[in-house]
């Protein structure tokens, strides 16, 4: 079964209510997109706690700066999904920074081997995952939108095309270019220091 497609007029009406300070509009936005925002955040951060923080930030931003969203430039679904993703990537970077600092303190004081995150392979996968999500956050908006709809929001490429108002072939091509670019970033990391938030 294919999920129901977005009706853009709903976004326009929701945005209007948000702009004019109607708190029930924020509840409606959360009911419609809260699960997606959390899903995106959990996938990047691997943490329910972090996802909670990200969801709070995302919906606080929607409420305090409703003009950050422009209904002429895309759907509220993709905008919130992309915002959640960027915030989640920032969360992981700062988390990594803190862990590294803590470890540096630790080894300086006690020189105890790191007992933390488990098998080496998992750590490497974790870093590669962050590298990929960082690369995803830096894709051109047109490609990112398709990835968010097809990957995070569970749309087929056809539904994504309808939601974005682009031909199916264009949706396929953008998805392919995006995924290839991500695969290449794995093979050839641009600057690992940036990805790890140094």
């Amino acid at each position: 079964m294919e999920p129901t497609l977005e009706q853009p007029p709903i976004d326009v009406e929701l945005h209007r209510r948000l702009v004019y300070g109607d708190e029930s509009a924020l509840r409606d936005a959360y009911a419609a997109y809260g699960a997606l925002v959390r899903r995106v955040a959990v996938r990047v951060t691997q943490s329910q706690t972090a996802a909670e923080d990200v969801a709070q930030e995302v919906f606080a931003q929607l409420w305090t700066r409703p003009y950050g969203f422009d209904a002429r430039r895309g759907s509220l679904r993709t905008w919130l999904s992309m915002l959640a993703h960027r915030r989640a990537v920032d969360w992981v970077r700062s988390e990594a920074r803190h862990r590294r600092d803590a470890r540096a303190d630790d080894s300086a004081l006690h020189a105890i081997p790191d007992a933390g995150p488990g098998p080496h392979e998992t750590v490497v996968d974790r870093e590669r995952s962050l590298l990929l999500h960082t690369a995803l956050a830096e894709l051109p908006r047109s490609q990112r939108e398709v990835v968010h709809l097809a990957y995070f929001a569970g749309r087929t490429y056809r539904q994504a095309a309808v939601e974005l108002g682009i031909p199916e072939g264009t949706a396929k091509t953008r998805l392919r270019s995006a995924l290839r670019k991500l695969a290449e970033s794995l093979a050839d990391p641009p600057d690992p220091a940036t990805a790890r938030g140094a």
Binding site: S47, Q56, R126, L132, A150, Y157
Partner: protein
């Protein structure tokens, strides 16, 4: 359906993220079984997606794919950030919404229906003001920049504030007694702009916001009975409830002015507020047209779907005018010339033009 090599290759990315429609789903595995180069590409993309998933080896099944808890200890949901902990922290809708609403945006006060359009318009300008840092000098309307436009609103709202016993926030102006209302209005705005230009835009916004909050905290904003008394503001004797609607009208029109200047699409007020603005404007317009040839004016989307006959009531209707509510308000607000406003027209064109010209010349703002 798609069996050819090129067709399947096009689908590989969608396949890798699980975004193939059912009709296309079978073609990919069939082709991969016999095509080495596509199989290699498919494997590369799948590996990429598995890493994006964060949990190597997990099936892609939407909600269940929240794993990756292997980074910490134990299975998903019990690791370093499990459901239980999110719950303890007041997680879920309530936690997220309560936290969002605590953000730096004033709550919209709970007021009587006649003051709701103004409360909403104030919230709307608050929202737009957040986009203004660094752009306060943008020319907006007349010879005002964005800063001066907010200063004008301080002066414009002040007339009602004074009528409701709220002390003026700006230094008094020296306006000779007997100055006509429209001229006094202009002078007061000029003084307000000169005064506010010596301050920061943030200070001007704070002054405007405090005065608006005071207006919305008056008994007249909360009690329809108190708002029924007449008051003369700017030479216009009307119930206080109507003055609140006019304040909403002006705040929205100037917010829209600022939005246009910045290239930001300011949405029109919610439908029920727009209708309150339309109804008041029609009533005032009707007074101005009491002996003109009668014209049926229909404003699209008003609750009863009916129109108003404006003009002398003895004669048969000379023309019918149909207008969009936002366009009608922009006309009354002086943002459309009478011959520019989009409208439907039947009957005597001169009679209809007379109505449009009268609407434009209400010149509230």
């Amino acid at each position: 359906m798609t069996n050819d090599h090129d067709g399947v290759r096009e689908l590989l990315a969608a396949w890798a993220v699980g975004a193939l429609p059912p009709a296309d789903a079978g073609a990919v595995p069939r082709h991969l079984a016999g095509c080495e180069s596509c199989a290699a590409e498919a494997e590369r993309l799948r590996t990429t997606v598995r890493l994006l998933d964060g949990a190597p080896g997990d099936a892609r099944d939407g909600g269940a794919r929240v794993g990756g808890a292997r980074v910490g200890a134990g299975p998903a949901g019990q690791g370093r950030g499990g459901q239980a902990r999110a719950g303890e922290r007041g997680g879920g809708a309530d936690g997220v919404l309560a936290s969002a609403l605590r953000g730096r945006r004033p709550r919209t006060p709970d007021v009587a229906p006649h003051a709701r359009p103004y409360a909403a318009a104030v919230a709307g300008l608050h929202a737009l003001v957040r986009e203004l840092p660094g752009r306060w000098g943008t020319p907006v309307v007349h010879d005002w920049d964005a800063h001066a436009t907010v200063a004008h609103l301080v002066a414009a709202d002040e007339h009602l504030a004074v009528a409701l016993g709220i002390g003026a926030r700006l230094p008094a102006s020296r306006i000779p007694a007997g100055t006509p209302a429209a001229r006094a209005w202009e002078l007061r705005t000029a003084d307000a702009i000169a005064h506010e230009h010596a301050r920061t835009p943030e200070e001007t916004v704070a002054t405007w916001a405090a005065q608006a909050a005071d207006l919305l905290a008056t008994p007249e904003a909360r009690d329809p009975g108190a708002a029924a008394r007449a008051a003369t503001v700017m030479g216009l004797g009307l119930p206080v409830a109507d003055h609140f609607v006019i304040r909403a009208f002006e705040a929205w029109i100037h917010t829209d002015d600022i939005g246009r200047a910045l290239g930001i699409d300011v949405p029109p007020p919610p439908a029920e507020h727009l209708e309150q603005l339309v109804r008041l404007a029609v009533r005032i317009l009707g007074l101005a047209l009491h002996d003109a040839p009668p014209v049926l004016v229909e404003v699209i989307g008003t609750a009863h779907g009916t129109g108003w006959v404006l003009g002398a009531d003895a004669e048969p209707v000379a023309a019918e005018l149909t207008l969009d509510p936002v366009d009608f308000c922009l006309l009354v607000g002086g943002r459309y010339a009478p011959d520019e406003v989009p409208r439907g027209l039947a009957g005597d064109e001169r009679a209809a033009r007379n109505v449009l010209a009268a609407a434009a010349s209400l010149a509230w703002l």
